[in-house]
Symmetry: C3
Subunit: 352 residues, 3 copies
């Protein structure tokens, strides 16, 4: 594979950064402050890592003007080093770029429309009425169902499944194993036996959405399941039928969202969070890891549930007591009453 090489001058120009050091220094990759070598560009984004600057061996470091003052080595001085790193990262990405065209083994229905600038990989199957936009990459072994639309600039890793009637916006990235448009969990109970309800809605994804590996987004029961613009979904997330996710909300891995729940814009759900169905989460909510969300949230802010880890022997005692908490609370109340009967009340003043 050909090496990726940029000069420090080229990178400075790309970012509009102030260059301190030799413009012709060759940079072949990016690395953290303590792992970087002389051909690496590094960056300081988290103040906690400032301590690594002193011994940093990087060819250059992305720094704010303030941090650059305390560093003697070569630097690219920018307003936001983390964003600058994000931008440059794409230059050093060795992810293969697919050539335009339909692979000889791909099966494309006669009435499907594939833009000439799109790429369709080996053994992909594209069904009747599907539309693949300009510059889209459909990876090998992908399945694109009937009437499904993939907007321009999209990138599907190998082995992604899109069922029928799924509408994907522009520049959407979907990792391998993701399933979009599967039949949601809809059953009516008839004397103890579950009768299937056909899931006749679709799925709509906005622009600039990212869907992680093995994440599943079910189609709607009646109307569509809707994922807003700029939403980022990590791996193994489960989104049930008729969920709505607002623009620019991000979810870490293993989040599960039950049917018809509506999540606002600019929310963040940490890993393993679970939400029951039919609730609403307002804009700007942050939910910490593994929290069980059983009711709507109407105020922005951070929310949590669960208990903190303990050594197992201690935890067993806490857990046993948790089961008696109501009894403890009643006894506490009882004690307060009894004590009040023997002593003058002073609770309002004695405890800070």
């Amino acid at each position: 594979m050909t090496a990726i090489v940029f000069s420090l001058g080229q990178l400075a120009e790309r970012l509009g950064a102030t260059l301190r050091g030799a413009a012709d220094t060759s940079i072949t990759g990016l690395a953290t402050l303590h792992e970087a070598g002389p051909a690496h560009l590094s960056f300081l984004a988290n103040p906690q890592y400032r301590k690594f600057l002193a011994d940093c061996k990087a060819g250059a470091v992305l720094l704010t003007a303030a941090d650059a003052e305390g560093y003697a080595g070569a630097a690219l001085i920018v307003a936001n080093p983390y964003l600058a790193y994000a931008e440059l990262s794409h230059l050093f990405d060795r992810k293969p770029r697919a050539a335009a065209g339909v692979h000889a083994t791909a099966i494309v229905a006669a009435d499907a429309v594939v833009d000439a600038s799109a790429s369709v990989g080996a053994y992909a199957v594209i069904e009747s009425g599907a539309q693949i936009g300009a510059g889209v990459t459909i990876g090998a072994q992908c399945f694109v169902g009937a009437r499904t639309v993939v907007g321009e600039g999209g990138w599907l890793a190998p082995r992604v499944t899109l069922y029928h009637d799924v509408h994907i916006g522009k520049r959407v990235v979907i990792q391998s194993g993701a399933v979009i448009g599967g039949e949601g969990f809809g059953f009516a109970n008839e004397k103890g036996v579950w009768q299937k309800i056909a899931q006749i809605g679709g799925v709509t994804l906005g622009d600039d959405v990212e869907v992680g590996s093995n994440t599943t987004i079910d189609r709607g029961a009646l109307a569509d399941t809707i994922i807003g613009n700029g939403v980022k979904l990590d791996n193994q997330i489960m989104i049930a039928h008729n969920v709505q996710v607002g623009d620019h909300t991000a979810m870490a891995a293993c989040v599960g969202i039950s049917g018809s729940t509506k999540i606002g814009k600019h929310c963040m759900l940490a890993g393993g969070v679970g939400l029951v169905g039919h609730i609403e989460i307002c804009d700007g909510v942050f939910v910490t890891g593994m929290t069980m969300v059983t009711r709507s949230i109407t105020e922005p802010g951070s929310y949590s549930s669960g208990t903190a880890m303990q050594p197992a022997a201690e935890w067993r005692k806490s857990a046993a007591r948790f089961r008696t908490l109501d009894d403890m609370a009643r006894r506490l109340q009882q004690l307060e009453k009894r004590l009040a009967a023997v002593t003058p009340a002073d609770d309002a003043s004695s405890d800070a």
Copy 2:
């Protein structure tokens, strides 16, 4: 795509419903009470939504006789509107129906048996000794292992994996990405190193089972893993080796069941529930979302664990105190003893 159209009269006839309104009204789809337009049929199943009836613009509504009294518009009067909706939903399902026959690119072993009425999709692979029953659909890119049997009327979405020696009953539906028969997690520890135990059992699924997207059901270590008739499994469920699930039990997404655990009939496990291995859950148990089940359940009823969500700042205080619960309980006991020494006992009478 051709539109789907039924007259209200046709739908009434199909259900054996009492029709109130014009029999020739065209119905092109189903919708909720507040989203329905004049070409939609809607339904009232949840009494909470009765308030939406007044402003409902649906062409007709599936109603009980009692609810129909309070509604002036067109209606199909039935005993159970939700079941009626479930039945009609299939008429409006635009899921493509596969034509019978084996796709030219499917690879079917010479000694595999595929019924003439079955459909095998593009790039599917069917191995030696497998049997595909009448009317079965094997989606594109599916893999059906050696000696595996898919009973009549089954429907496999694209990209389902069935390993070898898996027995699937009749009318089973399996969504994309599901893996049935993978090797369970069996290892013997020899001086700190894990030695693999071959998983020589299979998997048996009963009739009318549904398996969600990316759900995994491992093969048995010795005997089969067994899923009963009418069991419904949502997405991303994990069922370990030698689990047994009783008839008509339903599990929502992200449930995980450890090895050799046995679950009764007509149980419901909500999303994210986890069960340890080697326990038994009796018939008729409901487990609420994200509950950790660490022991057998011998009485029908509802079970829960975890803590309720709080604003994070408050939660941190609760969580910190949880770790000291045993100490709190001891101190409470101590106080009771000390107080008993100074006051006459009256706890039995003073608190309601």
Copy 3:
């Protein structure tokens, strides 16, 4: 399918076991003590199951010398029956063995290297610069990305995705649906909009690793995500970018590990455990099921979080009180102070 038959004598010889009984007894399979018939070999590993010995109908039982004394039937006497069972289990495994060679429909890039003794299944795709070692099986419909290396003796089930630049050690087993090398969840927030950070690291798996069905291991953001030798990962595990897992650590299903977290050697994580990012777990740690690990662990031992299951009605009371725990703790403290004012202090002596 040809039956698998070994004589008891052959099995004894293979294990170096002491044979008690007829060497020519035919053994066609393995089974548990209470399910075994006369053609089965069984084993007693867990002392709890000793009670099943009396009525055991197995053709022979793998026993320690001590247990054999209390059993009258045929036996193979070994030092460790469970390890002996693990070893023999592979003889009775009906998993199809792939023949060496590249299937006619597999697409192998011109500059990829596939060892002559390796097997590449139908519709597999192997990209530029990939290397497939001696004796490796690449299942049907697998995808092996550019420059990815699969070490000798590896076994990939059908439908596994390896992205580009993934390095897999020797004798690694990967179940269906697993995705290794997907793009990790890396985004920089710019005024509320998430900007993607290219994930330019790879993934390195050591020797003798096992990866379960639908498990996902993301590629590193800069350096590689690293899985040590002998690590066993069950199904539906999520390992984020730049996680490091030490040798011989085992994780049960549905574990989720956030980015850059480092786990020691010989650890065990039970099902559903979640770890936040950027923490370190030392060697020899056991974490019980569904525990939320929010800080580093520096001492070997067992750790837990969560609460124990209760009937839902009781749980609701406990959960309601949990939210007031801090208040309860303060009131308890208050009572202690007030009581101390009316009685002589005796807390140090009155409670054991």
